[in-house]
């Protein structure tokens, strides 16, 4: 699909190695690599909700804020979409960082007071209650489901819709998305666990998207292993004959 990469980050990764400092420690990294994974790989603890190593960085949750000093200028910025450059000095914890993160957590807690990962973050940042009106959303609009479906699975069954405070994520027209293959990548990646997958009898349902697909049983062991629609999709995508997909991965070994 043509659009799959349209929103990919336009930043480039060079071949050159650069030296940066994080909290005073000198670190070598590839130029243009994003700061958050570099920091995480080097053992720094930076909270994040909308980042995943397999996906392009998005910068939506604003939790991974750090202070970056470049030349004489220091600014607060998210680290997930900050490309590493020679000589930058990074601070992962300061009064300003804590102040901002704490408010981000409070905002998220007001939106999603019953989500375990948010409650845990609130505890960590000492947010005992929120001063804002309580809502009860289970989705924090991190966009991981939308990105994994578009960038990795490649079917773009779900998307962001609307804008501003009316932004939502879901399938077009909020009806059963006919291109969804029921792979469950969105279920797996969701940090708030708000996308549920249920299997009953011979059907799999991705509850949040209202998508129900019939499951195929393995020709050898008889166990359900994947939705028919998904196997047909893989067959078409890979040009592997359909009979290859009659057997489950376990029996195929």
């Amino acid at each position: 699909m043509k659009s799959a990469n349209l929103m990919q980050s336009t930043l480039y990764e060079g071949e050159d190695m650069v030296t940066i400092t994080i909290d005073g420690k000198k670190i070598e990294a590839k130029e243009g690599e994003m700061l958050l994974p570099v920091a995480l790989d080097n053992g720094f603890d930076i909270p994040h909700l909308c980042y995943h190593e397999a996906l392009s960085p998005y910068g939506a949750c604003r939790l991974c804020l750090v202070e970056v000093k470049k030349g004489n200028r220091t600014k607060l910025t998210t680290s997930c979409n900050y490309p590493v450059m020679e000589g930058i000095e990074v601070i992962t914890d300061s009064e300003n960082i804590r102040r901002a993160r704490k408010m981000v957590v409070e905002l998220l807690l007001a939106r999603s007071p019953n989500v375990p990962i948010i409650k845990k973050l609130a505890e960590r940042y000492g947010v005992t209650s929120t001063r804002f009106k309580i809502e009860n959303e289970d989705c924090i609009l991190c966009g991981l489901c939308e990105r994994v479906c578009r960038e990795v699975v490649g079917v773009s069954a779900i998307t962001f819709m609307g804008r501003g405070d009316k932004r939502e994520v879901g399938p077009p027209f909020k009806i059963e998305p006919e291109v969804c293959i029921g792979c469950g990548a969105c279920v797996y990646i969701c940090p708030t666990d708000c996308i549920k997958l249920e299997e009953k009898n011979d059907e799999r349902t991705i509850v949040r998207w209202n998508r129900t697909l019939r499951m195929r049983r393995c020709k050898i062991c008889g166990e359900k292993f994947a939705p028919w629609f998904q196997l047909e999709y893989f067959s078409k995508l890979t040009n592997i004959p359909k009979d290859f997909f009659e057997v489950c991965p376990n029996c195929r070994k």
């Binding site: 349209l6 929103m7 980050s9 336009t10 930043l11 480039y12 998005y58 910068g59 939506a60 949750c61 604003r62 939790l63 804020l65 607060l76 910025t77 998210t78 979409n81 900050y82 490309p83 300003n96 102040r99 901002a100 408010m103 981000v104 905002l107 998220l108 007001a110 939106r111 001063r131 804002f132 009106k133 924090i140 609009l141 966009g143 962001f160 609307g162 804008r163 501003g164 405070d165 009316k166 932004r167």
Partner: protein, 617 residues
């Protein structure tokens, strides 16, 4: 029309146009800008055409439909050249008299003249009107002289001579040097030095470079870019051509707001005519320089005024901004080096090239050169577009040019910079207006909207208004912007509806800091400004709402009530008849009363009462 193949072709054509025009011919310049059209300018134009034909005066007089003259308050406007007779609030009914008195004869119709508000003397000439005579219209001045849909008019006043100079007498580096020396700063909001931007873009590696004109003028209350595109589109195109030549670009875009149909139309006509004349396209004026411009209409999203969102929108995507750690001059539209400037910035370029940086930099303050066009709107007598040198004070703009506040009310604040800006109170009226001073005051230049507010404007309500705007216009990606603006809006709503509580102001300040510092793009980073600046200067108004449950400006519905003055009420029944909820009762010719239980505070009674008997308490 054959294309100009050389500088000589253009120059000869210019001479031809000028020679073919009779300098003594009377020209009636009628403002046909969106505003005057709304006043009925089109009907007036038709009436003039009919009258000229009926009286067979085609050889003596020409009707010219021009762009915005600026003095929108007094529209529809006409100026009769060569004498520069200025008629205001003209209507269809006046047309025949104008033709007979001021065209056939040599008389002035006193009734249509502007009357000096103090001396009460009628003023005949446009440039003697106080609204105009303190302005310095180097950018917008040609609006009232040319027909924007006729490229010949632009050429006749010297149009495209700056392009000639750039192509034949200068090279890209010297052009950039000149713009840097003039210290032109971006008119779209940030005030970044234009020449420096051009240089970075020119030096960015890559075969393809783009130039973009940002005409997505989204600040409510600002319309100077619209009026330039409507009234003098070629000046913008010429600026883009010069910029493209300096940067090494062969492709440009004008991204214009969909809500501006006339601007879209006029810029498209201008591009078509420029192409026909060979001023756009391959080998412009016989040189190696090739450049063309496409027009993209916005889809109605304020955030698309942000450069990376705008570029995404041109690419056919949703307008979500991206981080600019790599600048757009290096990787912008389609990941190519892209130079984006706003309409007014581009329109400054031909002037700088023609008259030189030395001339240009004599206008303005040390760090803000040239003029700035403001749209002076709101509670001000002379609503309109004003072009003034940088460094003029707010007081001069609002009181000397703007004529002060209507109905004898007291000035309270002026809001500049749109939703990203702030409100400036009376004590700073003598501040010279330039990029840096407005920022120091917690506001910003923005694109040039100047909304005047009087004592009947509630500052908490104004802050809430902007936050309501921004909560819808945020793209919704960043937690801080999406959730933060929504929460600030909720708190402001509570305050205006009488539910404000101790600590709300501090919470707004705390949240405002985070939204400003932790959001990705300019929209979120500046969103708290309307709140923070009103708290800074009008904290007492916030406190009155919160502690006393009182709206000093008597705007916030939940904190006011309407009552009928029993002394003044004549019992005419007008309010009773107009009340939508039958909350007013009373016998004929006897004082009426309002049932506070039923009243929805719509304000109709107050508005329709002819005896000023309905009070807001």
């Amino acid at each position: 029309m054959s294309k100009f193949l050389s500088k000589q072709d253009l120059e000869e054509y210019r001479k031809k146009i000028i020679n073919s025009r009779d300098p003594n011919k009377i020209i009636i310049a009628l403002c046909g800008d969106t505003g005057c059209q709304a006043y009925g300018a089109n009907k007036i134009a038709d009436a003039f055409r009919k009258e000229i034909k009926a009286k067979n005066l085609q050889d003596r007089v020409e009707l010219k439909i021009t762009g915005c003259h600026g003095f929108c308050e007094r529209g529809p406007l006409i100026v009769i050249y060569p004498k520069k007779i200025f008629y205001q609030k003209v209507s269809e009914k006046d047309v025949s008299e104008i033709i007979s008195e001021s065209v056939v004869n040599d008389n002035v119709i006193e009734r249509l003249l502007y009357v000096h508000p103090e001396t009460k003397e009628p003023i005949v000439k446009e440039d003697e009107v106080p609204f105009y005579n303190r302005q310095q219209k180097i950018i917008s001045g040609m609006n009232s002289v040319i027909d924007p849909t006729n490229i010949d008019d632009y050429i006749a006043i010297g149009g495209y001579s700056a392009l000639e100079k750039a192509l034949f007498d200068m090279d890209p580096d010297s052009i950039i040097e000149e713009v840097k020396k003039a210290n032109l700063r971006g008119r779209g909001g940030g005030g970044f030095p234009t020449g420096v931007k051009w240089e970075s873009c020119k030096n960015a590696p890559g075969d393809i470079h783009y130039v973009i004109c940002n005409a997505d003028e989204g600040d409510p209350g600002a319309y100077m870019d619209r009026s330039l595109l409507e009234g003098n589109p070629h000046s913008v195109l010429e600026g883009m051509m010069i910029g493209a030549y300096a940067i090494g670009s062969s492709e440009g875009y004008v991204y214009v707001r969909n809500e501006y149909p006339l601007a879209v139309e006029n810029v498209n006509i201008a591009i078509k005519q420029a192409r026909e004349y060979g001023l756009l396209g391959e080998n412009i004026l016989g040189t190696d320089f090739s450049f063309d411009i496409k027009v993209t209409r916005g889809g109605g999203a304020f955030v698309c005024g942000e450069s990376t969102a705008l570029m995404a929108s041109i690419e056919g995507l949703w307008g979500e901004p991206r981080a600019k750690h790599i600048h757009t001059v290096v990787s912008g539209l389609y990941n190519k080096p892209t130079n984006l400037n706003n309409v007014e910035t581009w329109a400054n370029v031909p002037l700088i090239i023609n008259k030189g940086a030395d001339w240009y930099s004599k206008i303005g303050t040390e760090n803000s050169k040239g003029t700035k066009i403001f749209s002076l709107v709101g509670k001000v007598n002379n609503t309109g577009l004003v072009e003034v040198p940088m460094g003029i004070t707010l007081r001069e703009i609002i009181f000397d040019i703007g004529g002060g506040i209507p109905n004898g009310k007291k000035f309270k604040a002026v809001q500049t910079g749109g939703p990203s800006g702030g409100c400036i109170p009376e004590e700073y009226l003598d501040t010279p207006v330039d990029f840096d001073r407005l920022t120091e005051l917690g506001s910003m230049m923005g694109s040039g909207g100047m909304i005047v507010m009087d004592e009947s404007t509630c500052m908490v309500d104004v802050a809430r208004y902007f936050l309501n705007f921004l909560k819808d216009e945020s793209c919704g990606k960043c937690t801080t912007c999406r959730e933060g603006i929504k929460r600030m809006y909720e708190i402001l709503t509570d305050i205006t509806e009488g539910r404000g509580k101790e600590g709300d102001i501090e919470l707004l300040e705390e949240l405002g800091w985070v939204v400003a510092n932790a959001s990705l793009c300019g929209l979120g980073q500046t969103a708290p400004n309307p709140v923070l600046s009103t708290i800074r200067y009008f904290r007492d108004e916030y406190e009155a709402h919160i502690k006393e449950k009182r709206c000093p400006a008597k705007v916030c519905k939940a904190l006011i009530r309407y009552e009928i003055d029993q002394e003044k009420c004549t019992g005419c029944g007008r309010c009773r008849i107009n009340c939508p909820v039958e909350a007013i009762s009373g016998e004929k010719k006897k004082p009426h009363i309002i049932d506070q239980e039923k009243c929805i505070k719509c304000g109709i009674c107050h508005e329709v009462c002819k005896f000023d008997a309905v009070n807001i308490i």
